[in-house]
């Protein structure tokens, strides 16, 4: 079946089998391999993308449901070859090690900063609770996100 949807700001049309998952189509058909498959059942958050502005697990979405929707992936965070503030903070603080969870973390952190720019450290941990990281122990990830939040407040 043919579906069309907005992908990272561009209108795209693609022929899919209805049972393909959004994650498969992003990675295999559009070659947007930033989104990762960790667990494949919604537990790890490595496949996090935005659908109509909301962070969701793309491994759980039959792609047919994306007809007419607006999808954004981690590839859209950087603009003009410049990483976003969240991505830069993750690098600066060492909030990334093996890197598998990092795209999901960067997406969820971006969503969390949009939704609650003044979140406390404890609240930020809750907002990020759908993303597993087996390397960092989370401390440096949260440090990075909190620092990005502070920088946004400083620069308005």
């Amino acid at each position: 079946m043919k579906i069309d949807f907005t992908l990272n700001g561009e209108q795209r049309e693609i022929d899919v089998t209805p049972m393909s998952r959004l994650l498969d189509v992003l990675r295999c058909d559009f070659e947007l391999t930033g989104s990762k498959e960790g667990c494949g059942e919604g537990e790890c958050g490595a496949c996090t993308v935005f659908v109509d502005g909301k962070a969701v697990n793309s491994c759980l979405i039959p792609v047919a449901q994306m007809q007419g929707r607006e999808v954004r992936t981690v590839e859209s965070l950087a603009s003009n070859e410049m990483l976003s503030d969240v991505q830069q903070a993750l690098i600066k603080f060492g909030g990334t090690q093996c890197g598998i969870c990092t795209p999901g973390i960067a997406m969820m952190a971006s969503a969390a900063l949009e939704a609650e720019p003044n979140a406390s450290r404890a609240r930020m941990r809750e907002l990020m609770a759908g993303n597993l990281c087996r390397c960092t122990g989370y401390q440096l990830i949260i440090d990075a996100v909190i620092s990005a939040a502070e920088a946004r407040r400083r620069h308005g």
Partner: protein
Amino acid sequence: MLRLQPFELVQPESIGEVLQLLSTHAEHVRIISGGTDLVPNLKLGSIKGDVLVSLQRVDELKNLKEADTQLVIGAGVSLHTIATSKLVQGTVPVLADAVGKIASPQIRNMGTLGGNLCLDTRCRYINQSEFIRSSFGGCLKSDGDRCHVVPGGSLCVAALSSDSVPVLIALGADVDIIGPEGERTIPVEELYTKDGVAHIALSSDEVVVRARVPIPAAQTRITYRKWAVRKSIDFPLVSVAVRIDHIKGSPDILEDGRVVVGVLGPQPKILRLSSLQGQPINEEMAHKVAGIVSRRCTPLANVPYSEDYRKLRLAVEVKRAIRSLFI
């Protein structure tokens, strides 16, 4: 890696079309909304569906409003909306709290109230790949004829792991169901049967359309406690909602109350506290209620962690719940 088996997905835009599709496809049809419970189960093959009827475009299921003394929540309202809505937080805060404890932020963005009400039952013998299930010959719920949790048992005891259901029952909520014959309303507790294989008491051509949640009166206090291994992205292994109604004008004397315990089997267990009417709401009552719950509830080996531990833990959670309701 497990792959999804082929299926057809249809996306109706009205309840009428949904009902028509459900009756046309009858046997092999499944309803999908957020898909957060269904898709993993389809991958495991513990659920089979050739045709998925998606509710995502049915806007009439997405209303959330206050009507008289009720909160009316459409089955398609997302769990995130319920957990963060000022209306829900202001009128039935315990529901916002319990729903906010479901899974993860991403899953709450996707999952819906209808999906959480109709969550499939869980068991360590079912939530496995087909390969592992075949190694012990399947079970009552998956291609077999025996129960491994209760040897000799004839009814599946897989557990209902919804975080919203115990709270909705404690609140005395109803659900509206629509089918070919029209709409009917039943108390939430009547939505569940004793059989974990077919634990939702609906026929295949019926759909839950909304929940009607009474806004608690001033003398009603309710809390929900969930224990899981992780603080996030986990189903409860022990869950309990406790409701205490005090006598008008005497906030420390019990008029009535109930305890609703989840994750025991396919049906939540409801324990009424009318025998404690007139007694003071204090530490002694917390111990008495924990005693009643311990005597009447038997955790099984259907979900992880030992039954003995979960039984002790349940009593502890009941005590903590009641203490949190002291004024």
